[in-house]
């Protein structure tokens, strides 16, 4: 039975956002007996509501509130009002994510030490490491039911994977598989196994893919300790004269400003909305925004070095059939500066339906060069490349006071310039991706530019020293002891891996810490 808490109840933990960070944190705290109010800007949708139609689903789930962009990244030119493809719904972007669940490589926790000085990069070591994270990764993999862990079999490979695998093996790559996925390969945890339906990005209608929307959220509600208020858009975090946060102002479904009191506030609104909320919470005591004495709130925005390679073949592939992200090549994920860049990247299969292929294959493209590619859509195979990008202080999320949202709040401007290391890595990955497909007879290959960002990281980064970042090793802000950051914005560096498993592991760990400190009355 879902709880209902009074807005004046100042004993609750208020969590803003219900995705991989907030949704997991909410359930984990509720399981430990902590009372939680979760504010979610979006509505509540379940598998029966998901729509297997790309644009219609986008209209249902995507965060399309206004945002602006600047910088030399191609997204700013191709999709100036849509810097990110993330979700506004209970469950957040866990409805949309592909399911790839990879641990960081050990050295990736120590980017500054491993990579050494990189000009223009604001590298830093995480204050935590692989050994410390191992038990939390174990718990995260169990929660998500990650394939190829805990005795769970891998998923079967679809047509898109088979082309990808054959090309990879022909090139001599060794670490090629259908990957570690938070998609059931067997019936498990009350959810069926993957039916190879496609449309993983539109919400899994079978519930085979893990999403907090239909796992952690309802389980937290069953404890009687969690109240999720959907269509509740956080506007400002309030604090008292001692500098402790005391509550959260939010706009409810009717657009009326409400205030929920809180003992602790945890911000988990993704790497745009979390810093936006801290910046919009500026006060006379905190004129630069909450928890921003370092000046790092909003800075070091990372989005992973990404791009895609699509290829056409003589005969049909029908890549859209089955799991969208159906396999991975990990050989290039290593750190090997002899390739001309630091850090590494992964290849992961990807497919888009015809409508999204038309929108994303070559944004702005037209004429027969473009349409002849789509004419060969049925013969296409596709992959995504995802690698570590360099944190840069000037890549940042700021408030754009010239543009406001439906509630009159300043929106974010997202500024991003590719670092030379990002460009060198992308060039390498494009060439290798092309070679993979040419090895199995591609008739034409396409270097597709980055999509609006799905991996948004780093704008409230974790640091040992309060001068270098926004939160400490627990995600607790350096400046305000009862204010936490619980999403990917706390990432110190991005690593080469899809971030969700790490966000979940950090959230489980943070819940353990918060509950313990609450019991000890230290928060």
């Amino acid at each position: 039975m879902a709880a209902k808490f009074d807005k004046t109840d100042d004993s609750v933990v208020v969590i803003i956002g219900t995705g991989a960070g907030g949704g997991v944190l909410a359930n984990e705290l509720a399981q430990k007996g902590v009372k939680v109010v979760a504010l979610e800007a979006g509505g509540r949708y379940l598998p029966e509501d998901y729509i297997n139609d790309e644009w219609e689903s986008f209209g249902q789930l995507a965060w399309t509130d206004p945002r602006t962009t600047s910088g030399d990244w191609r997204v700013a030119r191709d999709f100036p009002a849509l810097p990110a493809w993330i979700v506004k719904a209970v469950g957040g972007t866990t409805t949309h994510w592909a399911g790839a669940s990879l641990r960081f490589q050990d050295h990736e926790w120590k980017g500054k030490t491993t990579y050494g000085p990189v000009q223009g990069a604001n590298l830093l070591d995480w204050p935590i490491d692989a050994a410390e994270m191992e038990p939390w990764y174990d718990l995260a993999e169990k929660k998500l039911g990650v394939t190829r862990t805990n005795g769970l079999p891998g998923l079967p490979g679809n047509n898109n994977y088979k082309v990808f695998e054959a090309g990879a093996l022909a090139l001599g790559y060794k670490e090629v598989s259908t990957g570690r996925m938070a998609i059931n390969s067997v019936e498990r945890d009350g959810r069926v196994s993957c039916q190879q339906t496609g449309f993983c990005f539109q919400g899994c209608k079978w519930g085979a893919k893990w999403s907090s929307a239909y796992t952690d959220i309802p389980r937290g509600e069953e404890t009687g300790n969690l109240e999720v208020r959907d269509r509740s858009h956080a506007a400002r975090i309030l604090h008292d004269a001692t500098g402790k946060v005391t509550g959260v102002e939010y706009f409810d479904a009717e657009g009326t400003l409400q205030m929920q009191k809180a003992r602790i506030v945890c911000v988990a609104g993704n790497s745009f909305e979390s810093p936006r909320l801290l910046l919009n919470s500026a006060s006379s005591m905190f004129p630069d925004g909450l928890a921003n004495s370092s000046g790092q709130v909003g800075r070091n925005y990372m989005r992973h070095m990404t791009g895609s390679v699509y290829a056409t073949f003589e005969k049909p592939v029908r890549m859209w059939r089955g799991t969208t992200m159906a396999g991975i090549i990990r050989d290039e994920a290593r750190h090997d500066p002899s390739r001309g860049f630091v850090g590494g990247y992964e290849f992961e299969t990807l497919s888009l339906g015809l409508p999204f292929m038309a929108a994303f294959l070559d944004p702005g493209g037209w004429g027969r060069e473009f349409t002849s590619a789509l004419d060969a859509y049925e013969t296409m195979a596709g992959m995504w490349i995802v690698g570590e990008d360099m944190p840069q202080e000037t890549n940042r999320v700021t408030l754009n006071h010239d543009v406001t949202d439906q509630h009159g709040l300043p929106v974010v401007d997202v500024h991003f310039d590719d670092h030379p290391n990002d460009r060198a890595m992308r060039a390498h990955a494009y060439a290798q991706g092309r070679a993979i497909y040419e090895a199995v007879g591609a008739t034409r290959t396409f270097p597709t530019p980055p999509y609006p960002s799905t991996h948004n990281l780093g704008t409230n980064r974790m640091s040992e020293n309060p001068r270098d970042g926004v939160v400490n090793r627990w995600g607790q802000t350096h400046d305000v002891s009862n204010l936490f950051v619980s999403d990917g914005s706390q990432f110190t560096t991005g690593a080469a891996e899809n971030p969700t498993l790490t966000i979940v592991a950090l959230a489980i760990r943070q819940a353990d810490h918060i509950a313990r400190e609450m019991s000890a009355r230290t928060i």
Binding site: N52, D53, W55, P156, G157, N158, N159, K162, V163, A166, C194, Q195, Q196, T197, G198, F199, K205, W206, F313, E314, K315, P316, V317, R318, W320, R321, G322, G353, L354, P355, M357, A358, A359, G364, W366, G367, R368, F370, T371, L374, D375, Y377, E378, V440
Partner: protein, 174 residues
């Protein structure tokens, strides 16, 4: 009724008198455009039929798919036939015709060959009008479900139980 059905609902009898060639479409007297073989027709309300015919031809020239019938392009740009959009479109098409005259043709539809029209479009591709039409086509054209089978795309599969037992891994040529 789908857009395609609405387009096709008009009968050939409604089209035939006074038709004049206008690129991929015919202008059939006041307020009507039609396929040259009278397979479909569309009534315009806010746009001059010649303007709409030019827009349809421009749509095909931007995203030419030789196996896609002109009615899909007509559907894709039908939304511009509104009082709100008409001034922008009339001005844009007038500019397009002016660009065609700069290339030595009487109008955009007076060109005859695709290569000539593409050269004209290359000259205006940075204009807001071109970019508006092109951007609108990305969804207006490719999000027409009736068109997907022409590309082999199967759309949703949930209602059929997915592809687990229907060929998700049936590739045989590797």
């Amino acid at each position: 009724m789908t857009d395609q059905q609405a387009v096709r609902a008009l009968t050939r009898r409604q089209l035939l008198a006074r038709a004049s060639a206008a690129g991929a479409t015919l202008v059939v007297g006041a307020g009507f455009v039609a396929a040259p073989d009278a397979a479909w027709a569309l009534e315009t309300t806010a746009l001059k039929p010649e303007t709409f015919a030019t827009l349809v031809q421009m749509a095909r020239d931007i995203y030419p798919h030789d196996r896609v019938g002109t009615e899909y392009y007509a559907v894709a740009v039908k939304g511009y036939d509104s009082a709100e959009a008409a001034p922008m479109v009339e001005a844009g098409v007038a500019a397009l015709d002016a660009a065609a005259r700069g290339h030595g043709f009487a109008s955009y539809l007076g060109t005859g060959w695709e290569s000539d029209r593409v050269a004209i479009l290359r000259g205006i591709e940075d204009s807001p009008f071109f970019q508006t039409v092109r951007g609108g086509l990305v969804t207006g054209l490719y999000n027409q479900k009736a068109l997907w089978p022409l590309f082999g795309y199967e759309g949703e599969s949930y209602s059929k139980g997915g592809y687990l037992h229907r060929g998700f891994d049936d590739i045989a040529w590797l």
